[in-house]
């Protein structure tokens, strides 16, 4: 288990990094390395150039600005896990991250790395889609913003150019007291989920659902927003039958099939995971009682 030979670069700035990306063919960025290193060890990827961005300054931060959370691409999953600001303002991100890999991998793995790798079942792209994040990328021509809904171009392929890199993410914050639920089904804890669901609910005084966000991972090639379920939830007051009916709409999502699970099983799991996440989210909403 040894990586194939490559040329190693360790730039200090984003500008230098995108310059290296533009100049070198078959180059890969090494962020936390928790996806790229296994792929190198297994020789699934054989890049000619590895560009290590661990020494690039200014890409690791968690801050609040204008009612949004801004998180740098190189922020370790561990920093997000332990950040009070995240726990207070976007608790679903913390709950999701507790399902990401394990202690060792969260200590190295980064938010930007997970988004760029874009595994269909990964937790961080899923909550980013649920929160309608904006992904900030930079290339030789400058910076641009990509809505998370537009970010996946296909299976494990972000819609960024070969000479662009993710530099940060902005997450809109839901109102204080909102409900959130993140539930996943995996063969072992810490594995990628077979199916995961993220639900956010804004519940108004009196217990009526004002706004809902329902997203599943592991079903399609990238996170899928379940608009029918969101519509079905809006105006509801938390009856079990309403959650069941809303979750049932997820059975028709176009689902992937692989050696682990056939499409019908992923669709079935989508209904179960979304229902559980809805119940959890409603139970946590301050106005639900």
């Amino acid at each position: 288990m040894k990586p194939p030979p490559f040329k190693y670069h360790d730039p200090r700035t984003v500008a230098e990094t995108v310059e290296l990306l533009a100049r070198n063919e078959n180059a890969k960025i090494l962020a936390g390395g928790q996806s790229l290193m296994p792929m190198l060890n297994m020789r699934y990827v054989q890049p000619d150039h590895v560009i290590d961005i661990n020494r690039v300054e200014g890409l690791s931060y968690i801050r609040e600005a204008g009612g949004r959370l801004e998180i740098g691409a190189m922020t370790r999953q561990r920093e997000i896990e332990y950040a009070d600001l995240v726990a207070r303002r976007a608790p679903i991100v913390r709950e999701a991250i507790l399902n990401v890999g394990h202690r060792q991998t969260r200590n190295r793995g980064t938010l930007g790395g997970s988004l760029s790798h874009l595994d269909p079942a990964a937790e961080l792209p899923l909550v980013s889609a649920a929160l309608e994040a904006t992904v900030h990328v930079q290339g030789p021509k400058g910076k641009r913003d990509i809505a998370m809904a537009e970010f996946p171009a296909g299976y494990m392929s972000p819609s960024i150019e070969l000479d662009e890199m993710v530099i940060g993410v902005t997450l809109p914050v839901w109102p204080d007291g909102h409900g959130y639920g993140f539930v996943e089904f995996s063969r072992r804890h810490g594995d990628f989920a077979i199916v995961a669901a993220a639900v956010l609910l804004d519940v108004e005084a009196g217990g009526k659902i004002k706004r809902a966000s329902v997203t599943v991972g592991g079903v399609g090639p990238s996170p899928v927003r379940c608009r029918d379920a969101e519509k079905a939830l809006t105006g509801e007051k938390g009856a079990e039958a309403a959650f069941r009916a809303a979750a049932e709409t997820c059975r028709t999502i176009d689902a992937m099939e692989d050696v682990y699970a056939p499409a019908w099983y992923r669709q079935h799991l989508a209904t179960v995971m979304t229902r559980r996440a809805m119940v959890a989210a409603f139970g946590r909403a301050a106005n639900a009682r």
Partner: protein, 157 residues
């Protein structure tokens, strides 16, 4: 290609070594420095047998390039005992027979020490969650968890 020159602190000693740019930290420890206490299990970050700490943070050394640890402090299993004096965790692993074949043991000891440094009084659930990145195919984990609980008790007193 010129080999890379890396300066680190390993188990408290300043260590310089040469390695290839494409060599993992695990491979540099084992093949360049002959510190073979750290084991390779999977090479994909699933098993935790290669666990070491970098600047106090628990990581899989198979998923870090050796050149990435320039200027950092590494702790490995070789630094755990003080000469002939075993660390309380090592003693309790022996007492509780918390190992059989032993290949996962260095990684689990490093991970358990990392837990106890942050949480001297962990619950069984906290121990199991923290050690979830370390696979053991022999013990069934029960004796490992007992040994860590017992070592934590002893280290607190």
């Amino acid at each position: 290609m010129a080999r890379a020159h890396v300066t680190t602190t390993i188990n408290g000693d300043v260590v310089d070594f040469l390695c290839e740019a494409d060599q993992t930290l695990l491979s540099a420890l084992r093949d360049e420095l002959r510190m073979t206490g750290t084991k390779e299990g999977c090479g994909t970050g699933d098993c935790g047998a290669c666990s070491v700490t970098i600047d106090g943070r628990l990581v899989c050394s198979c998923l870090v390039l050796a050149v990435e640890v320039e200027g950092k402090a590494i702790d490995t299993i070789e630094g755990m005992a003080d000469g002939e004096n075993l660390h309380p965790l090592q003693k309790k692993f022996l007492e509780h027979a918390a190992l059989q074949c032993g290949i996962c043991t260095p990684g689990i000891l490093i991970a358990a020490r990392s837990l106890l440094e942050r949480n001297p009084d962990p619950s069984e659930t906290e121990i199991r969650y923290w050690l979830a990145g370390n696979l053991c195919r022999c013990t069934g984990y029960h004796k490992i968890v007992e040994a860590v609980l017992d070592a934590a008790r002893e280290m607190r007193s």
